[in-house]
């Protein structure tokens, strides 16, 4: 192996080693169609059955740069996730009452798993 190849390998290794890691998630602009109780946070997502809650979600690396994000619901019959036309705004749709989870994934690595409750609408008077 010549010196040029060795330098090339070393450069690639350095780039990988210096790659920016996930640092934090920013969630804002939460809007529920049914109730202000419907919410999206890192701890918990709650949405009323037959309704939707949207949130602006970005994940950032340790250099405060935006990272690619993929959100994967575990059970789309309970909670579905769909994109909106607004950049980085995701719609969580309550399909039926129950518990499930969603995973935030970036570069094929799981960032976080969030528990979800799809709750029934309170019965009227």
């Amino acid at each position: 192996m010549n010196l040029q190849k060795l330098l090339g390998i070393a450069a690639v290794a350095t780039m990988v080693a210096c790659g920016h890691d996930y640092d934090h998630t920013e969630i804002s602009q939460i809007i529920g169609s049914y109730s202000s109780a419907d919410d999206v946070s890192l701890a918990h997502i709650e949405v009323t059955e037959g309704n939707v809650v949207t949130a602006h979600i970005v994940i950032k690396n340790d250099d405060n740069e935006k990272m690619p994000l993929r959100i994967v619901p575990a059970d789309t019959t309970t909670l579905d996730l769909e994109p909106t036309i607004n950049p980085d705004v995701y719609a969580f749709i309550g399909k039926k009452s129950g518990k499930t989870t969603v995973q935030f994934i970036s570069d094929d690595e799981r960032i976080i798993t969030i528990h979800v409750d799809v709750v029934p609408e309170p019965s009227g008077p």
Binding site: S33, N51, V52, E82, P83, N86, G124
Partner: protein, 259 residues
């Protein structure tokens, strides 16, 4: 000279006719646009990308026979009723020329400019194909969503589905639903009736309630129940009959007198 004058006169008439036609066309086009921003016909979407317009054939929440709601229904829609909704992007919310412009969308329209509005189950489902539009299928507060053809969500609103506790029968030519308990017909004459649902607070509920009419004595009067919510009664011979209406899980009767 005379020919020249006649030609000039003809030219003036031709020009005048053109102007008249142009003005008429302008007037027509000006009426074909969408309501202006802030018009109460819109319920603005939660994401701020546009507004939703409501259409139905009940003749109360909407202009009779046209389907355009002058005001987005605030009392909710009747459970079991059908309706149309279209989404108008913020940039299209003006009454100037709109391309493509529409005059009155059908009561069951849910698509406009490539954007389709649908309701989330269990409160809303797709209406039977015979009616089209959206069916208010369960009492509660549900969500209507506007999507592009690729499924991307443009905006959404909440809309309450309310159980009607009373069916109000009214003259189809009226926009104020004065309840008709007795229908008087001349022999050989016709009258048209519509139906609107009311909630416990006697508020009129939007949406086209699917109704069925029958008359117990068809030798006296007949009823032709059309799909657009209008029932046409015809007096056959002198006498009395009872018309029975069912719809929205309710039923009631109307006395019919033919003189």
């Amino acid at each position: 000279m005379a020919a020249a004058l006649a030609g000039a006169k003809g030219l003036r008439m031709h020009t005048l006719a053109r102007i008249v036609i142009a003005v008429a066309a302008l007037g027509t086009v000006a009426c074909t646009g969408n309501p202006d921003v802030g018009d109460q016909a819109y319920k603005q979407g939660s994401l701020g990308n546009g507004g939703f317009l409501f259409g139905c054939a009940d003749g109360v929440a909407c202009k009779p026979f046209s389907g355009d709601a002058k005001k987005f229904p605030t009392n909710g829609v009747a459970a079991g009723s059908t309706f149309g909704v279209r989404f108008v992007a913020s940039s299209d919310q003006h009454s100037d020329v709109v391309v493509p412009a529409i005059v009155n969308f059908d009561t069951d329209d849910t698509t406009y400019n490539g954007v389709t509005v649908g309701g989330l189950e269990p409160f809303f489902t797709e209406a039977p194909t015979s009616n089209g539009g959206i069916l208010a299928s369960q009492v509660g507060a549900g969500t209507l969503m506007a999507r592009k053809s690729d499924g991307t969500i443009l905006d959404f609103i909440s809309l309450r589905v309310v159980k009607a506790v009373k069916l109000v029968v009214y003259d189809a030519s009226q926009t104020s639903p004065l309840d008709v308990t007795t229908l008087s017909l001349a022999k050989g004459g016709q009258k048209q009736l519509r139906v609107v649902g009311q909630d416990v607070g006697t508020n009129n509920l939007a949406g086209s309630i699917q109704t069925a009419w029958s008359v117990d004595n068809t030798a006296v009067a007949t009823v032709d129940h059309t799909d657009d919510g209008v029932a046409t009664f015809a007096g056959v011979s002198t006498g009395t009959a009872t018309a029975t209406l069912t719809g929205g899980g309710l039923s009631r009767t109307v006395s019919v007198e033919v003189k």
